[in-house]
């Protein structure tokens, strides 16, 4: 029974679901519209409160977060144009639900980074976990290392650029937007994709259901050259293009017949 003692004494939860009444720690050094703070001894909620306070109330435009320590859910829900630098690694769900910021992460990110991002730029200097850029609607996600599985699952817009390898089911069910992979990708690329474009410079282990090679045109060249130029990635390698084969598009055929049956 000893083991059950203290079960209700939760003091800190890495999901950030506790401490709803926590206050802004106000530990930043602010210099004009720039600020820097050390996150080492702060909880997830305190770090996010500090970021909001700086960006929304103090008029700061450029924040550097030291020692993020791979904590989860940092830099989420930032809805203003600003610049944020994480001087280290983030855990799961980093920089999700953002609209506007330009974020640089100097380390690695865990699963589901930049989930449901609306606009802005996130540059990850090292590797990223699975589900990177899940369901993003806009903006650019640049991963300079490798990514895990299911990158850009359910993507609805924006661009994901990965310099290293990518895992299985990349672009699974993507609906719009672009994915640019400069190295090999795993099995099931673009499985069940609805629309959008995937560019791969390395080897594709296997294509997913209804993902087919696409025809290259000038707009593809323009896009890739532009993105490489913006992010200083050097001369682009040669890419293959993959799009949706639209063989799974059978909703329109089914629906009228069903309607007839109903009538």
């Amino acid at each position: 029974m000893d083991a059950l003692a203290g079960e209700r004494m939760i003091t800190y939860d890495a999901r950030g679901l506790v401490e709803p009444d926590d206050t802004v720690p106000r530990v930043s050094e602010i210099d004009g519209d720039r600020a820097v703070f050390d996150a080492k001894s702060l909880t997830t909620r305190q770090i996010n409160l500090e970021l909001r306070w700086l960006l929304y109330e103090e008029g700061v435009k450029d924040v550097t977060v030291l020692n993020p320590g791979a904590k989860h859910s940092l830099g989420v829900g930032i809805l203003t144009r600003c610049r944020i630098t994480f001087d280290g690694s983030l855990g799961y769900f980093g920089c999700g639900l953002i609209d506007g910021p330009e974020i640089q992460i100097k380390g690695r990110v865990g699963w589901s980074a930049c989930e449901n991002m609306m606009s802005g730029v996130v540059v990850i200097e090292s590797n990223a976990g699975s589900l990177t850029g899940a369901a993003i609607r806009g903006g650019d996600v640049v991963v300079k290392g490798q990514v895990g599985a299911r990158t850009g699952i359910d993507q609805k817009g924006g661009t994901i650029i990965v310099l290293g390898r990518a895992g299985s089911m990349t672009g699974f069910m993507m609906q719009r937007g672009r994915q640019i992979f400069c190295d090999d990708v795993g099995p099931g690329l673009g499985d069940s994709m609805y629309d959008g474009t995937i560019y791969v410079a390395g080897k594709v282990k296997s294509l997913g259901i209804d993902c087919v090679p696409g025809e290259w045109d000038d707009s593809d060249t323009e896009l890739i050259e532009r993105k490489f130029r913006i992010y200083g990635l050097g001369k682009p390698p040669e890419f293959q293009k993959f799009v949706c084969g639209k063989k799974l598009y059978n909703y329109d055929n089914l629906e009228p017949s069903e309607r007839k049956l109903v009538l």
């Binding site: 029974m1 000893d2 083991a3 059950l4 003692a5 203290g6 079960e7 939860d13 890495a14 999901r15 320590g69 791979a70 904590k71 989860h72 280290g88 690694s89 855990g91 799961y92 100097k106 380390g107 690695r108 865990g110 699963w111 090292s126 590797n127 976990g129 699975s130 290392g145 490798q146 895990g148 599985a149 299911r150 390898r165 895992g167 299985s168 089911m169 795993g186 099995p187």
Partner: protein, 311 residues
């Protein structure tokens, strides 16, 4: 959800605070599984056999006869060990219901387990020359305190925080699982196996016993059977990728190696940190950062990957 972690020191000797380090890793992943916590720790290899067993569960009802029954069963276990020719060195009472026994013995480990587990409510948690499995309800700090794991010195370890999905919240359902009857082999698993009953029935037919209703136990027993057929740890793990259906990331440890395998969908997470002196892996990087206090280069292994490190 569950969280798993593993750590292996690569510089040979056995003087590392694995108990302390594993507690730090598991505590930082408490949110992945608050039901129970388990450790498979490897101390310095010894000539003696070390056995961890339990006679009851933390949440068993405490009736009037509870203490007396435990004493009776404990004496029974001791008598049976002696009957099999084991020369007992020490019996340590870790909690009210869990014990650690060291003894000299050169017969088959299977015989020991079968005879001990014939005692009512007895379960052998681990058996071997260096492996010790400790598992109980609660978070890592509670279990570590209860079993005094902070001072455990050793070479490598795996651990697990459990969010029960398939079976009861009790010690039998907690990970790690010892690979009965294979000494010094243990497994932790994050995921679900869909062909669990098939494999359980197959393995039962070839003489293995299952102590829990938890699907993860089948991985340990499957690997044990493969290794007793002459497969290396790595080959046995590669075979398991085909044999096991479902989603999984699991870590298997032996007396001198630690291996990890991921299913073909890479559905369950794992972060890996490889340095010259240490390999640490966990469901989340935050667990690795609990023992490495500087920025590190980590990555996620890919689908269908099997990796093995030796110390």
């Amino acid at each position: 959800m569950c969280g798993i972690a593993g750590i292996i020191y690569r510089n040979g000797d056995g003087e590392h605070a694995v108990g302390h380090d594993m507690t730090a890793m598991l505590q930082s992943m408490k949110h992945r599984g608050p039901d129970s916590t388990g450790y498979a720790l490897y101390g310095p290899a010894s000539e003696l056999v070390v056995m961890r067993y339990k006679l009851a569960d933390a949440n068993d009802a405490r009736d009037l006869e509870f203490a007396r029954r435990l004493e009776h069963h404990k004496a029974d276990v001791e008598a049976r060990l002696r009957m099999l020719g084991a020369r007992i060195h020490k019996i340590e009472k870790e909690t009210a219901y869990a014990y650690r026994v060291t003894f000299e013995y050169d017969g088959e480990l299977k015989a020991i387990t079968d005879v001990v587990e014939d005692v009512p409510h007895a379960e052998v948690l681990s058996l071997g020359h260096s492996l010790e499995i400790i598992k109980d309800l609660g978070d890592a700090e509670q279990v570590a305190k209860q079993y005094r794991l902070d001072g455990f010195v050793g070479t490598h370890a795996i651990g697990h925080v459990r969010m029960a999905t398939e079976s009861d919240v009790d010690i039998s359902g907690a990970h790690p699982y010892w690979a009965y009857p294979f000494g010094d082999v243990a497994v932790v698993h994050n995921g679900q196996l869909t062909n669990y009953f098939q494999w359980k029935h197959r393995l039962e037919r070839s003489g293995h016993r299952f102590q829990s209703e938890c699907d993860s136990e089948v991985i340990a027993v499957y690997l044990a059977e493969k290794m007793s057929d002459g497969y290396s740890l790595e080959d046995a793990m590669r075979e398991s990728l085909e044999a096991l259906d479902g989603v999984f990331t699991y870590i298997c440890v032996t007396g001198d190696a630690l291996g990890v395998a991921k299913d073909e969908m890479a559905a369950k997470p794992l972060v890996l940190y490889e340095a010259d002196d240490i390999v640490a892996l966990a469901s989340e990087e935050i667990a690795i950062r609990a023992i490495v206090d500087h920025e590190i280069e980590t990555w996620d292994p890919y689908e269908g990957e099997v990796m093995v490190w030796t110390r």
